[in-house]
């Protein structure tokens, strides 16, 4: 691509970017927190497992009934 063609492309992109509709940061933060809250219980790495048995990667220890 020639440098003029490249620059034209940049101008095109910047024009589009400058005219895009944006949301205020406060709203985005609210959405992010809400998403975390509604998925918190499913997030085992945050909330842990209900019991050790629920962790599929836990080494099976002790005895088991055959």
């Amino acid at each position: 691509m020639s440098s003029i063609a490249q620059q034209k492309k940049i101008v095109e992109q910047l024009r589009a970017e400058a005219s895009m509709a944006r949301k205020p940061v406060s709203e985005c933060v609210k959405d992010m927190i809400q998403f975390m809250d509604s998925n918190k219980d499913k997030d085992c790495l945050v909330s842990g497992f209900q019991s050790k048995k629920d962790n599929p990667f836990q080494e099976k220890g002790g005895c088991s009934v055959l």
Binding site: S3, K9, A18, M20, K23, V25, C28, N39, D43, L45
Partner: protein, 341 residues
């Protein structure tokens, strides 16, 4: 003359863009989250160590079955593991070294991979001898750095050292769309979980992260606040934001709708480059693997580190959280992969 006009307009537009981005900056993520309870500890430790590679592990990808994973290494090996038992189910030797990219297909029937061969190849796992059933999907003019299936087994998106990304049709090997805009090697890409098949983000050695419209091939947003190569990029699980990991030892969170950087994850004591990033299922935790062998865990809302996890004996090169969020897998130059849960 025309060139001067264009340069002038670019400058004017950049200023306007910065102004527009500033206007809606009515809050700060970290300040807004001051009242939220911090995460004080995470109870995560190594549960499995996957040994079998004889070279540096460069890439890994989970199957949607949440149990199998594929990994590739610099000695040209591709291994498919059962992560529950640590058994190796497939071992494929590639005709190249530095297999930097691999991806499990959504159906679990294929793996895509490539590296210094500049090619993206696909192996069917259900066949008796996958290695003889190899299919070439596409070829770049430089190394393949990353690849990901696009919503089905039929399309693959690749990123390359030739500074482009390409969407390929698997069956025909035809290029569906190419994405030009990076001024350096593309290192990483990720498809939007909410706008699947329509939006993806790529990042690379030009220090930038580009958001692309997959249908038009147009870059629609560009974020370039990193101070060095960007090695990894991953969407926030809602699809509204994404995080990057860079050689400048920081991770950054960019929000698409507000069109700006909303948080930086760094510390004075964290000096080494970050090679891999991913979120926990809810997006609250950010896992980041570094060149000083550490897996750092960050509280996304507080931009505070909540844990330093040691285990690897060389740089952490790749990491991914299991699709159901039960664990995180890291791959390292120490030739092993580790499952943390």
């Amino acid at each position: 003359m025309e060139e001067q006009d264009l340069t002038g307009e670019i400058e004017t537009l950049k200023k306007k863009l910065a102004e527009e981005q500033g206007k809606l900056s009515d809050a700060d993520l970290i300040l807004s989250c001051q009242k939220i309870e911090p995460i004080t500890q995470v109870n995560i430790k190594v549960r499995k160590v996957l040994k079998g590679h004889q070279g540096k592990v460069l890439c890994m990808s989970w199957s949607q079955d949440k149990r199998h994973l594929v990994s590739t290494s610099h000695d040209g090996k591709l291994l498919v593991w059962d992560a529950f038992t640590t058994n190796k189910e497939h071992a494929i030797s590639m005709a190249t070294t530095w297999v930097m990219a691999c991806a499990y297909s959504p159906s679990g029937q294929f793996v895509a991979c490539g590296g210094l061969d500049n090619k993206c190849s696909i192996y069917p796992l259900l066949e008796e001898e996958p290695v003889t059933k190899k299919r070439l999907v596409g070829t770049h003019t430089s190394y393949l750095a990353c690849c990901q299936f696009n919503t089905s087994d039929h399309q693959v998106l690749t990123g390359s050292g030739d500074s482009t990304c390409v969407l390929w049709d698997v069956e025909s090997g035809q290029m569906i769309q190419s994405f030009h805009g990076h001024a350096g090697d593309v290192q990483a890409l990720d498809l939007s979980p909410s706008e699947s098949g329509r939006v993806f983000v790529s990042a690379g050695c030009d220090r930038a992260a580009n958001v692309w419209d997959m249908r038009s091939g147009q870059c629609v947003q560009l974020f370039d606040s990193h101070e060095s190569d960007v090695n990894s990029v991953r969407f926030y699980p809602s699809g509204d934001a994404f995080v990057t990991g860079s050689d400048d030892a920081s991770c950054r969170l960019f929000d698409l709708r507000t069109d700006r950087e909303v948080a930086v994850y760094k510390k004075e004591s964290v000096l080494f480059g970050c090679n891999a990033v991913d979120f926990s299922l809810s997006g609250r935790l950010l896992f980041a693997g570094y060149s000083d062998y550490v897996l750092n865990v960050w509280d996304v809302l507080k931009a505070k580190r909540v844990a330093m996890l040691y285990g690897h004996e060389n740089r952490v090169s790749c990491l991914r959280v299991v699709p159901d969020g039960t664990a995180v897998c890291t791959g390292s130059w120490d030739t092993t992969l580790r499952i943390w849960a």
